[in-house]
Assembly symmetry: D2
Homo-oligomer: 169 residues x 4
């Protein structure tokens, strides 16, 4: 299992909430793998998982994930006030605060992740497709964007790390 006893309580909460909402770390890492396989042919799933885990140690990322998942849950339980409730329940196209929160995640590893984020957010590969299907009665207006952002940030970190290794060798 990921991280274990060296995790902060907040980090553990993030893993717990992601799991409760049906998101496995491996599924996020699959998106990172999908983004990098054409550029780094020898990239491994293990490397992608490690990078996703490192992204999840960042406080800004943790704050964004907890806030977003909380809003999704409240929309699901219909506790939000109108017209906000309807915007979140329908994932209204002119509501962009979910993208704003994702951007906070992306920025931690610099701007090179923007393109990757937009690409998978529109293509919806893997878990992003499931989170968007709404087939299970769940609301994932925030979560699908947050997952795409974590995967893209991990891809940025992976690219930066690989490049540094090249220099140092």
């Amino acid at each position: 299992m990921e991280g274990g006893c060296s995790m902060t309580p907040l980090e553990q909460t993030v893993y717990l909430w992601l799991e409760e909402r049906g998101v496995q770390i491996e599924e996020i890492a699959e998106l990172t793998f999908f983004l990098q396989i054409n550029y780094i042919p020898d990239v491994t799933m293990e490397e992608c998982i490690e990078n996703v885990q490192t992204v999840l140690t960042k406080r800004e990322v943790q704050n964004a994930i907890l806030t977003g998942i909380q809003l999704d849950i409240l929309a699901e339980k219909e506790i939000l006030r109108e017209p906000l409730l309807q915007m979140l329940r329908s994932d209204e196209s002119l509501y962009g605060i979910d993208e704003v929160m994702s951007l906070a995640i992306l920025n931690v590893y610099g701007s090179i992740g923007f393109t990757n984020y937009g690409y998978i957010d529109r293509l919806k590969p893997g878990i992003l497709c499931r989170l968007n299907s709404k087939s299970d009665g769940k609301i994932h207006t925030y979560l699908d964007d947050l997952v795409a952002a974590v995967a893209s940030a991990a891809a940025s970190r992976l690219a930066h790390t690989r490049h540094l290794l090249t220099i140092l060798e």
Copy 2:
């Protein structure tokens, strides 16, 4: 009264929620005035109010305000899950999603508002002081930043508009 029948329903909701949370448009405009009086000596309160009102017509601004106020209310009612509840109730210094949302407002009028935002967010003049006092049992973790962002965005718009008028004259 502001706007009136030409307002969209969403805009009306924004005015209503702001008023419910104790924020008058004039108080936001006072911050804009405070920010501009040293640069534009003939700036008027009327001009500041108009610019605040125009900022509030923007959909991105409306989305940010409704989402932020909703989170404040839920924190007040203790409906949020821990550890998020405690972060919002204490306005924890390492929780920056309120700043992220404010940035979405600032960006609508370009980057020249960042400095103004940081300046009044730290100085806390006028209404920002009251929103931060927590004396009334209210939680304004998001609202104080959002108000500072709207006031700074209005200051940016005012500067841009004045400059355009200079060119056209």
Copy 3:
């Protein structure tokens, strides 16, 4: 022709520099059309051109375009200092300041444009393909991202405007 005598001198410069670098307003509008045709079946090229033109009236957008094109030209003429010159000439994947500048453009119409930007920046339809080909000895490290950002911002504005019309009808 676009805008004409109602344009500010700065706006005219933007049109001039874009044309000098081989970019027609119609080509940017084609990207906007490409982004919206699946969502708004009756969208017209005329509407897309109008929205691109409105995006180009914004000062923040003008600043970003002039700064980015200037850097491209200086890279072309090899006037920049190393290692910056090599980063820009090779459009190095870990150099993301071009994306940072594009984000400043996108933000003017809110966060809903991020996804569109990433999507076309990766897919490279139309003019973006030509700007990236480097076949003509030109450096367009900044310009291709800026064009994608203007097209995506225009798509956001178009979506916002259409929605407002629906409400008011």
Copy 4:
């Protein structure tokens, strides 16, 4: 001297360019100290220097600094085209791309640095005052904002690190 043989060539270039433009790491660290002394009474200059140095290891930060300083130098040498040259030489208030680049630096350590950035960017303590004086014929339109951003990012990192140490103790 800072870093030494473990630095990447790019990092060494950043130190070199900062020094050439008259900025010492200690002067940036003094801004960080100024920002934190009221919140962390036992903060030391050594700790501030270390955090500034860590901020400077980040690729996004390095890219922003090199690009900004390059633009300042070109403005100084009058190599930029008009009207961009005049905007940069006069540090025109409606030109905000310097702030956009600073934001890219701030974002690496999360959004909690925005307020600090705006605060010192307006107050101009220490080195920021000198960079703004223009008394020496130098153009520092970008550099003063970049220095404020690095100092604020270092303050954010310091706050995050101190908090983590509290948890782990």
